[in-house]
Subunit: 276 residues, 2 copies
């Protein structure tokens, strides 16, 4: 044997090749490995996806489980825990708006019996906060907790139109992402559309791909007059005409806004008259 027996002492313990990421970030990255498709994961899967050695993952996961951010199933796999959900339910832009909006969404849903959506903007995407759907009714669209592009969805356009100018420009500068099923608009048309949305309080999008549908969305304002959410209805193309839906959607959105403390002006583009 060419192996050196050396001594009884452990050869090379604690020899970290090198690292350098805050522990908190690592812990959070362990939460981030979960997704719509990955709702229950084993230790080794989590370690692999999060890019860290199993022992490290185990140690961090143990803390997360102890707190309730994760739960362990009988088969040893981990899932997101109720405790995390509980804290998350305090998110003003998550459950916050939802809580206030829900009764109004229900009314709209009950009358129309079509998908009713509520979304907020997170960075460059829309996040679906709520979706009411009759169990029998129409096709699927987006999942609650899921994300949707800003430029090619009705809620996205409403949120984009309500964002600050600087952000809008940044988005518009980016090349379109060619969302399948939605005709992508050239930049100029997007600008005109956003302007229309601001003026009319309504965005409309036709998509063909998951199925032929029409979405009509309207902005929800907070007390400061900022657009905090977008409310929309999704109907099969050809069922109810959009111009019939628009007033209902707009009225519902305004009702929610009012409950958020927003005092609607006569119309945003009429204010300039008062300057004369």
């Amino acid at each position: 044997m060419t192996v050196q027996p050396d001594t009884e002492t452990t050869p090379a313990r604690g020899k970290r090749p090198k690292q350098g990421e805050p522990v908190v970030d690592r812990a959070l990255s362990l939460l981030a490995v979960f997704s719509d498709r990955r709702r229950a994961l084993t230790l080794s899967e989590m370690a692999r996806y999060a890019g860290m050695p199993a022992p490290t993952a185990l140690r961090l996961i143990a803390r997360l489980v102890a707190w309730g951010a994760l739960e362990r199933l009988d088969d040893g796999r981990y899932v997101v825990g109720v405790r995390l959900w509980e804290v998350a339910s305090l998110s003003p832009r998550g459950h916050g708006v939802r809580e206030i909006a829900l009764p109004y969404l229900e009314d709209l849903f009950e009358v129309t019996r079509h998908h009713v959506l509520l979304a907020v903007r997170d960075n460059e995407e829309a996040v679906l906060i709520e979706r009411l759907s009759s169990k029998d009714a129409t096709e699927v669209a987006y999942r609650v907790g899921g994300r949707a592009p800003l430029r090619s969805t009705a809620v996205g356009l409403v949120l984009l139109a309500g964002a600050d100018q600087q952000f809008q420009e940044a988005i518009l500068r980016k090349p379109p992402e060619n969302e399948p099923g939605v005709p992508d608009m050239p930049e100029g048309q997007v600008r005109r559309t956003l302007s229309d949305v601001r003026r009319t309080g309504i965005a409309m999008i036709r998509r063909s791909l998951p199925s032929r549908t029409v979405s009509v969305a309207s902005p929800v304002f907070d007390a400061q007059g900022s657009v905090v959410a977008a409310l929309s209805i999704v109907v099969p193309d050809g069922s109810t005409p959009p111009n019939v839906l628009a007033p209902a959607v707009r009225a519902t959105a305004r009702a929610v806004s009012r409950n958020l403390g927003h005092h609607a002006e006569v119309s945003p583009d009429v204010r300039t008259h008062s300057q004369g």
Copy 2:
């Protein structure tokens, strides 16, 4: 001057009195400071409630904000972020059951126009996963994301009745907590009630305090036959008689169970016959 000038060197930097809590735990404790009443907090508030020095809190909060677990408002305060809500929406026992149950809850709500609740058990309490309420209708009860006691609520009794024997005993051994507005039952009566709940699939509770209401709850089973949630309806006392509500609640709960892959047996307490 009795003060020792000593040298120019910094006197006593980095002199930690001592500590010893995992960083992850500290970060999580910063999430835990949020509550129904505290949805937006300043740095110093968070540091105070979490019991740590401001610089430490700031450093950890910075990581949480970077990831999206927290968001910073214009006024400098922090709130729970949408990203956290997004991950939490993957919680099987949180949004998971909710997603499946919602259409059925809506049906029940639409027919009755009374509060419809969905709850799961987390440790020794019930956590409210969903609540449908008409905006005009009745008084408030519990908040979505909030907690309710097991022994003195209808959903709680259902969840307790469906828990494993060992856990039930542990709860029963504890002295009752004297929930105001609910007549507290002696241990024997609780046992009988739990037995009844298992047999009939219905729990019923009258409370007087937030207002005079009757709650009727029924268990939701998963594919393995475990009770994973409780579904209930809350009506003003004296409106609809409970025995009229029970079938509707039970039917809704069974519909949800079926969608979770549960194959209902004829009746749990009849199975013994097949042994003959």
